[in-house]
């Protein structure tokens, strides 16, 4: 479970916004003084990424909706205690991720963290000398664009992603589909950045194998 405690540190640096809107820090300070409109701007700014995080973690739109409601309400209630040592968005991710994990645990006795699940992933095959086996080097990339809109391919991708262990799937979707940074994902899922990179790479390798099988079967 991610810890929301912050120790006494210097406030996290904040990049100026290109759109001229007030930064998160200013909005947080206004919201802490009771400005509901400032909190609404924070919600508007972060709700999409929080939705993707919640959806990827729970796998259910209905659960994602409840996670979002709970997370933003929880964030509002804890706002007086937020001191800006972390980025507001990182703090919010942690709250939403904790909410999603608690929901998963209630529903299916999920493990305490996403990292505790067993690993069974496919990957490329190498010779004893470390060279790629021929079966791992079929070039289907040229056919990828023409198959992009294929319903069969979409179904194959959905099956392959569903077959990934939860923690690998979540990291992959947050990074390669939703565009979160490794640091954001690590913070939300209570993983180290190297652990995020490792899961991401293993997930991509497993998906690449499955897509290779799909294209080989579609020749």
């Amino acid at each position: 479970m991610a810890d929301l405690n912050q120790t006494q540190r210097e406030p996290a640096p904040e990049e100026p916004r290109l759109d001229g809107q007030p930064g998160d820090r200013e909005l947080v300070e206004r919201a802490q003084q009771g400005d509901g409109a400032a909190f609404a701007m924070l919600v508007e700014r972060h709700q999409r990424q929080l939705y993707r995080l919640a959806l990827r973690m729970t796998g259910s739109e209905a659960d994602a909706q409840e996670v979002l409601q709970e997370a933003f309400l929880n964030a509002y209630q804890k706002l007086p205690l937020f001191r800006g040592e972390a980025q507001f968005s990182s703090w919010l991710y942690r709250i939403a991720a904790n909410s999603a994990l608690m929901r998963l645990r209630r529903k299916r006795r999920a493990p305490d963290t996403l990292a505790e699940q067993p690993l069974e992933l496919a990957g490329p095959r190498f010779s004893a000398e470390g060279y790629l086996e021929p079966a791992s080097s079929s070039d289907w990339s040229q056919r990828a664009d023409e198959k992009m809109m294929s319903g069969e391919l979409g179904a194959a991708i959905n099956r392959a992603v569903a077959d990934l262990p939860d923690d690998y799937r979540t990291v992959f979707l947050l990074k390669d589909v939703d565009g979160l940074s490794n640091e954001e994902i690590a913070n939300a899922l209570d993983l180290t950045v190297p652990a995020v990179k490792s899961r991401l790479h293993r997930a991509r390798l497993a998906l690449r194998e499955k897509l290779g099988e799909f294209f080989d079967g579609a020749k």
Binding site: Q65, L81, L153
Partner: protein, 105 residues
């Protein structure tokens, strides 16, 4: 002096960081040197990149507008001063389930 990459396995292990541009220049150069002499690894890089592209295309998700509306409505009921300009779509109350503890954050 950059340590050369002789085997495909090492190339594959470095691929994630390479395509994200986070590999050190020395290792990236060693990887590119390996790629220049290893057609199977060139194919591997192509299909690795294509995997990301296909998955992103097939799985991209936008937050539904109805959900934004219901979130606005929900927070309008529970957060003082929260502007609730969207229609009052019914949203399940979580006021009793949300953690209202005073944990220091």
């Amino acid at each position: 002096m950059t340590t050369p990459i002789h085997h495909c396995k090492e190339c594959v292990d470095l691929l994630g960081e390479y395509i994200e541009g986070t590999l050190s220049p020395e290792r990236a150069k060693a990887l590119e040197d390996h790629l220049s002499t290893c057609p199977p690894c060139i194919t591997f890089v192509r299909t690795y990149r294509a995997t990301r592209k296909l998955c992103r295309h097939a799985l991209a998700t936008e937050m539904p507008k109805e959900l934004m509306t219901s979130l606005t409505s929900f927070l309008g009921k529970h957060v003082p001063g929260f502007p609730c300009t969207k229609s009052e779509t019914a949203a399940p109350s979580l006021a009793t389930t949300a953690d209202s503890g005073s944990k220091k954050v």
